[in-house]
Amino acid sequence: MGNSKSVFTEEELQDYEDLTYLTRKEIFLAWQRWEELVGKQGAPNKSRRYPERKLFDLPELKFNPFKERITRVFSSERDRHIGFEDFLDLLSVMSDNAPLQLKAFYAFHIFDYNEDQSLDGEDLEIVIDRLTGNEKLKEEEKGKLIQRLLAEVDLDGGGISQEEFKHLLTKCPDFINAFRFSI
């Protein structure tokens, strides 16, 4: 860890500590993992961006069925590349201390496959397929499930909006437990 200490200036560390839900130790750990992922460089360059695929090697994301959406959503420049600060963002949202509304916001965008700002039948179908892995539900069962989901939540038709999603997750405390990992 001695090396990592020289990578960040005190000001940067303060920034990271105050603006994310990570502790100082976790930030150093994150840097270590980041270096392992992208390969050690001669001089540490925090602003360099790497293609999304690099992040897929992270053990926590490797077997995650939503990994492509995760890297897409957390890429701040929308350029399918991930920088170190995006990585920190991801860890911060996934940490224990992040509040529900933050997690709900990002989860909504992760599940929104067609990126139309609402979770409609199309998105739900893809989500369910990803969740069940290699075995797929029968078509009619899937259809009924989607229908049921939309009926339960969607009050005004046109898919589940951001607000509705946030609202229904407040009734789902298990979500916070499920939607997290630590570095």
Partner: protein, 665 residues
């Protein structure tokens, strides 16, 4: 294309800012933002901690947050801003709250950052998910709590007592050559009321009964251990002088430190329960049935990082969804009123049966304890015998076997949801545990409540039995607290050994059947049952609380036990066991576990309170010897120091209690 930089959200952000940061001057600043899109710089002394929180919670990339922060804290040089100065008081207030906030953050970070077992936990969670992870986290939490308490106890009770013994033994070596110690002691023991003993004699009393240390003493905790600091009986009942004329009163220290330990436990666990409850409470009354949503969106556990575990999770989600849809597709039959009443009756019958079984068990335990005592020669606790192990063995076997039976029965009772089954199981197992421990304490308590006469009669009987002179009479002192402490020690040790044995058997079993296909019984055994293991932890912790007063080193024993349990469970889980294929609702069950722990703690605390008020202290051993009731000690103490009473009275005022609870939350 998904746009996270919508103007709408920018406005939302400024709304947050205006409320938290700018106080009353928001109108002008808000319009400035809206029209130009840039924020004016604000002198840093205007900012308060709410600002940090608002910024952190913002759903924006880190880069943007940094930019905003820098703009907000940039130094102001224009005269316009200089005119907007705030009063010295406000500045002071903000600075103070800033420092307080930072301090709280760093303390929280230090606590949450515990790297104790961090890697191991991560591995287990990655393989099994958050359900099993929550068991290990619970274990770690209790471990750290117990560790702090052990330090407290060792530092303030054990060490002074050891110092006292050392210094005293040196003194009395010179004394003993002069008087005949046995006669003096025999004389002293005739008195049993009121007067505190002269310290040199009581310590001599212990020096007069050196016991040989036999190998079986490790199991029974009797014999040589009785004369050590392991139990209540050995502790000195007065004060002694440390260097330079300072006096350290062992009895007072004993009382207050144990009291303090309980208060710490109470506060910490209560705090945790409140936090968990706040986070996990759902309003089920006004809730629409949102099971489908939950099953879809919170089913994937994002902490899974192993291939096998991921495959397992996929399978379990698939199973659950198909089950759900099949249930939905078959029409739900509206149950007739009769059927519902019938179902209720069945459940009631089962509950009555279970309660009946518990009562029978309790009565059986009582008989066992009673017989166990009479079989021993006299009531001495100095004889270390294998027969002492019968009671702990039976209790441990009951605690291992009966919960599994209960789990089996519950499936026939017709509960609808798995969660109800889980809760019913938990409640019944806790009731079982409390019955057993309650009988244990109640037995010893009622025993020593008998009037003084039978005690002396018994020892006289023993006298007759042994046909010996006064010297052996001296060795048989009835110290009920030590006996109770010994029982707790035995329970802990035997429980530990039996679970080790079971684990070894399980290991052999799983090695033998590795390649073969899994039958139902095998599946049941090789599953990592979270509820069973957590209940076992709660049982250990309750034993700790019961034994704390009577055997001050119980936290140390439980600490060692927990460490070994952690490593063994981790090893077993990762190598041999499989996770439960059915999904586990971690959040609410965690709350329930902590709540159950709290209930056990409160009950032990009340039992202690009752004991202190009404219990008879042993006349000849321990720090409170010579007082009829424990509470007399407290009155004696506060007689001389009216201030203590005043302080206690002040602390217990409702305002102060509410204030403390408010800070905690």
């Amino acid at each position: 294309m998904c746009e996270l930089w919508d103007k709408k959200e920018n406005i939302e952000f400024s709304e947050t800012l205006r409320i938290n940061v700018y106080g009353g001057r928001y109108e002008e600043i808000w319009s400035l933002w809206y029209h130009t899109g840039c924020l004016p710089s604000v002198p840093s002394r205007d900012l308060c901690p709410a600002y940090w929180e608002a910024l952190r919670e913002l759903c924006k990339p880190l880069k943007l947050k940094k930019e905003i922060r820098h703009r907000l804290t940039a130094r102001q040089t224009s005269s316009q801003a200089a005119a907007r100065t705030i009063s010295g008081w406000k500045h002071f207030k903000y600075t103070m709250s800033m420092h307080w906030y930072k301090m709280k953050q760093s303390v929280q970070d230090a606590f949450h950052d515990y790297s104790l077992w961090h890697k191991e936990l991560k591995k287990v969670e990655g393989t099994f998910g958050t359900g099993v992870g929550s068991y290990f986290r619970f274990l770690r939490y209790l471990f750290i709590l117990n560790f702090c308490i052990t330090l407290l106890v060792c530092g303030f009770i054990l060490t002074p007592q050891l110092l006292f013994r050392l210094s005293d033994e040196n003194e009395n070596l010179s004394l003993s050559s002069q008087n005949g110690p046995e006669e003096e002691i025999a004389f002293e023991f005739a008195v049993s009321d009121g007067l505190p003993y002269d310290r040199s004699l009581s310590s001599l009393a212990y020096a007069a009964t050196p016991e040989k240390f036999g190998p079986i003493d490790w199991l029974t905790g009797s014999g040589w251990f009785v004369t050590t600091e392991l139990y209540y009986g050995t502790y000195h009942n007065g004060s002694f002088s440390l260097a330079s004329g300072q006096h350290y009163n062992v009895a007072e220290a004993y009382f207050f430190v144990i009291f303090l330990c309980f208060i710490i436990y109470l506060v910490v666990i209560l705090h945790r329960v409140i936090v968990l409850y706040k986070n996990n409470y759902i309003d089920t009354v006004h809730d629409m049935p949102s099971t489908y949503i939950k099953k879809v969106f919170s089913s994937w556990d994002f902490s899974i990082s192993e291939k096998k575990a991921a495959a397992l999770k996929h399978k379990s989600i698939y199973n659950e969804l198909t089950e759900l849809m099949q249930e939905y597709m078959n029409d739900e039959v509206n149950e007739a009123f009769c059927a519902r009443v019938m179902a209720m009756c069945i459940k009631l019958v089962f509950w009555v049966i279970v309660l009946g079984v518990l009562c029978v068990l309790g009565w059986f335990m009582y008989i066992l304890l009673d017989n166990g005592i009479d079989e021993n020669v006299g009531e001495t606790t100095n004889i270390s015998d294998v027969s002492l192990l019968i009671y702990p063995l039976i209790v441990t076997l009951i605690m291992m076997v009966v919960p599994s039976i209960l789990e089996g029965i519950v499936r026939f009772e017709g509960y609808r949801s798995p969660r109800h089954i889980l809760y019913v199981n938990l409640v019944r197992t806790i009731m079982l545990e409390l019955t057993i421990l309650g009988v244990l304490i109640g037995f010893w308590y009622t025993r020593e409540q008998k009037p003084a006469l039978p005690e002396t009669t018994d020892s006289m009987d023993v006298d007759v039995d042994t046909e010996d002179s006064d010297s052996t009479h001296v060795q048989e002192r009835y110290c009920w607290e030590t006996s109770l402490g010994e029982e707790v020690y035995r329970l802990l040790i035997i429980d530990f050994l039996v679970s080790l044995l079971l684990i070894i058997l399980l290991l052999i079993f799983s090695i033998v059947t590795r390649k073969k296909s899994l039958g139902r019984a095998q599946q049941f055994l090789l599953e990592f049952s979270i509820s069973r293991n957590t209940l076992h932890l709660i049982y250990d912790q309750t034993l700790l609380w019961v034994g704390l007063f009577f055997c001050p080193l119980t936290p140390l024993i439980v600490l060692l036990k927990m460490t070994i349990t952690f490593y063994i469970q981790k090893f077993m889980a990762l190598r041999f066991l499989r996770a439960d294929e059915r999904p586990w609702r971690a959040a609410q069950t965690e709350t329930v576990f902590f709540a159950l722990t709290l209930v056990s703690l409160i009950l032990s605390f009340l039992a202690y309170g009752f004991n202190i008020l009404r219990g008879h202290s042993s006349p000849d051993c321990g720090p409170f010897q010579g007082y009829k009731h424990y509470v007399d000690f407290l009155w004696d103490l506060t007689e001389n120091q009216g201030t203590i009473l005043a302080v206690i009275g002040w602390i217990l005022r409702p305002g102060v209690v509410a204030g403390i609870l408010g800070i905690l939350m």
